[in-house]
Symmetry: C2
Subunit: 294 residues, 2 copies
C-alpha cells in the first residue's frame, strides 16, 4: 500500500492521528522536500514519528518514482507531503504510477494553504484563480500573475498568491554540462514579490495603463499556533517607501502566501488591530458595498 | 483559551494529533453540527476522544456564543468543526467575540473540501469561484450558481459546487409563530443538484440561449479512505435518462461536492477507469489544448 499523507502546515503534531498511525506502520517513509517545508526540520519529524525519513527531492519523485514504489505491493510505503498531498499537482503522477503498477494507495488529507488562508477572515468562496509568483531572472520576467490578479479583481474575487520556492535547482550552465551541482535553496519573500509587482505597475503606468486600487495582505505565518500576523498595504500607495517597510518583514518561507484584495479589509486575528477587525465584521453583511479607506 | 479545531473530512481519526491533545485538555468541547457532518456520529467521536461533546447547532453558535465562551479566559474550551474551522465563514464571528472578550484563541487547521477536492486530479490552482447550490423552494429558484459556473468556464476555470445542507431549519410558518419546531435534516444529493441544473438549462435553451458544453464530475466520498468514487457526465448530453442513472447514486451527504468542468477529464483514483486517468496525465502538459471526447 502506498500512503500519501498530508502533514498540514505547522509542526510535527499537525499530522492527523490516522496519518501518524499509517506512518508508524510503514516500512519506508519518504518526505517530499521541494514543494514546501514545515516549520520544523526532518530530524524533529523523525523523532516525533519514531521513524527514519528518506528525503524525496524533485529528482527522486519525478525520475525515481520506481524506487519509491518498490515492493509497495507487498509492504507499506508512506509519502509525506507538507500541507495536503494534492496541493501540488506533481504528486498525481506518483498515484498514477502506483495504479498502473497495481499498487493500492490511500490518501490521508490535511490542511493546505489553499484552505487555511481562510483564517484571515476572507471568505474562501470568494477567491478566484490562485497564482504563483515566480522568481524573475535577467531574461525572464513573466507578468501573467499580475493579469490574473486583475482578472480576479474585476470579478470581485480575492487572489491567493503562492510565492516561489527553489530547492535543489541547477543553473542552466550546470544543467547543460550535466553537472549535478545545486544552488542554495531560495524562498521568495513578500518583499521580493512586492518588488516584482511594483516593477510591473511602474512599467504599465508609464505605458499609460489605468491601474485600479487594490490592497495587499500578507501572512507572516499560517498554521503554526499563535504566530499569525497580517499586514495590509494599499496598492496605489505601495511606493518604494512602503516597500522599505515591507522589506523589514519576511514571510515565513515554507508557507508562502499573501493575498491581494480589491478593497482594504484589515484584520489581525491575534487581536493587535482589533478595531480594524471589528470594523470588518460590522461590514461583513454589506460586503459588496464595503469601502473602508486607510 | 478557545480552541477552534478542524476535524477533517473522514472519521474520528482524521483529527490532527495537536487537535486531539487540545480536545483532551479542554473542560468543555462543542461540536458544530449544522454546516457539515462527519461519516461518524457524535457518539463515535466521544468514544474516540474520551470526552463528552456538546452539540452546537446554529442557534447556539449564532445566538448563544456567550455560553460557548463562558469562562474560556480561565479554562480551555474547544469548538470542533468538520473540515477546517474557517471553511464556513460563520465561525469568524465566534473568534471576534473571543477577541473582544479578551479570550485568547488558537486555530488548529485541517483538511477542507476546498483543498481535498484536489484528489480528483484537477489542479486546485485552476478552480474559480466556489458556488453553493441551494435547495429551491416553490417560490425561490435562484440561478446565480449557474451563472457563476458559466463565468468560471469562460475563464477556463473549474467550479467546485457545495451542495446545500439544512439542519434544524424551521418552516416559515413555525418561524413566524415563534414555534421551535424543526424540519427533518436534508442533505442535497448530486441528483437533486443535477435536476436543478437541468431545469435552468432547459429554461434557457427554450429562450434561445447558446449553451456550451461542460461536464459534471461528482464525488461519492472524499476524505474517507478507500471510498472515493468519481463519475462524469457530459452536460450537453445530460438528459433525463442520464439523470436517472445519476439518481442511483447519492453523494455522501456530509461532504457535498461535485465539480463542473469545461472539458471531459475522466479520472477515477481507485483505478476503475484507469484508461481515462492515463489519458488525462498524458495530456497534462497540453492542458490548455486538452479536448478529450466521451
Amino acid at each position: 500500500m502506498l500512503y500519501l499523507i498530508g502533514l498540514g502546515l505547522g509542526d510535527a503534531a499537525d499530522i492527523t492521528v490516522k496519518g501518524l498511525q499509517a506512518v508508524k506502520s510503514c516500512s519506508r517513509v519518504y518526505l517530499e522536500a521541494y514543494t514546501s517545508i514545515l516549520t520544523v526540520g526532518k530530524e524533529a519529524l523523525e523523532e516525533y514519528y519514531g521513524k527514519e525519513l528518506i528525503l524525496a527531492d524533485r529528482d527522486l519523485v519525478e525520475q525515481g518514482a520506481d524506487e519509491i514504489l518498490k515492493d509497495a505491493d507487498v509492504t507499506d510505503v508512506a509519502f509525506l507531503v507538507v500541507g495536503d498531498p494534492f496541493g501540488a499537482t506533481t504528486h498525481s503522477d506518483l498515484v498514477l504510477r502506483a495504479v498502473n503498477a497495481g499498487i493500492p494507495y490511500k490518501v490521508i488529507h490535511n490542511a493546505s494553504i489553499m484552505n487555511a488562508v481562510g483564517c484571515c477572515g476572507l471568505q474562501l468562496y470568494n477567491f478566484g484563480e490562485t497564482v504563483s509568483v515566480v522568481f524573475w531572472t535577467e531574461t525572464w520576467k513573466p507578468e501573467s500573475f499580475y493579469d490574473k490578479i486583475c482578472k480576479n479583481k474585476a470579478a470581485g474575487l480575492h487572489t491567493l498568491c503562492l510565492l516561489d520556492i527553489k530547492v535543489k535547482e541547477q543553473t542552466i550552465e550546470n544543467m547543460m554540462r550535466g553537472k549535478k551541482i545545486y544552488e542554495p535553496p531560495r524562498y521568495m519573500t513578500v518583499s521580493q514579490a512586492a518588488d516584482q509587482l511594483i516593477q510591473i505597475i511602474d512599467r504599465r503606468r508609464k505605458e499609460g495603463e489605468e491601474l485600479g486600487e487594490s490592497h495587499l495582505i500578507y501572512f507572516h505565518l499560517i498554521g503554526s499556533v499563535g504566530s499569525l500576523s497580517v499586514q495590509q498595504f494599499s496598492f496605489r500607495g505601495l511606493s518604494r517607501n512602503t516597500l522599505r517597510y515591507v522589506l523589514t518583514f519576511t514571510i515565513f518561507r515554507g508557507l508562502r502566501c499573501n493575498i491581494l484584495r480589491r478593497k482594504l479589509l484589515g484584520c489581525n486575528l491575534q487581536g493587535k488591530i482589533v478595531f480594524q477587525y471589528r470594523k470588518w465584521l460590522n461590514r461583513l453583511e454589506k460586503y459588496n458595498s464595503l469601502s473602508i479607506k486607510s
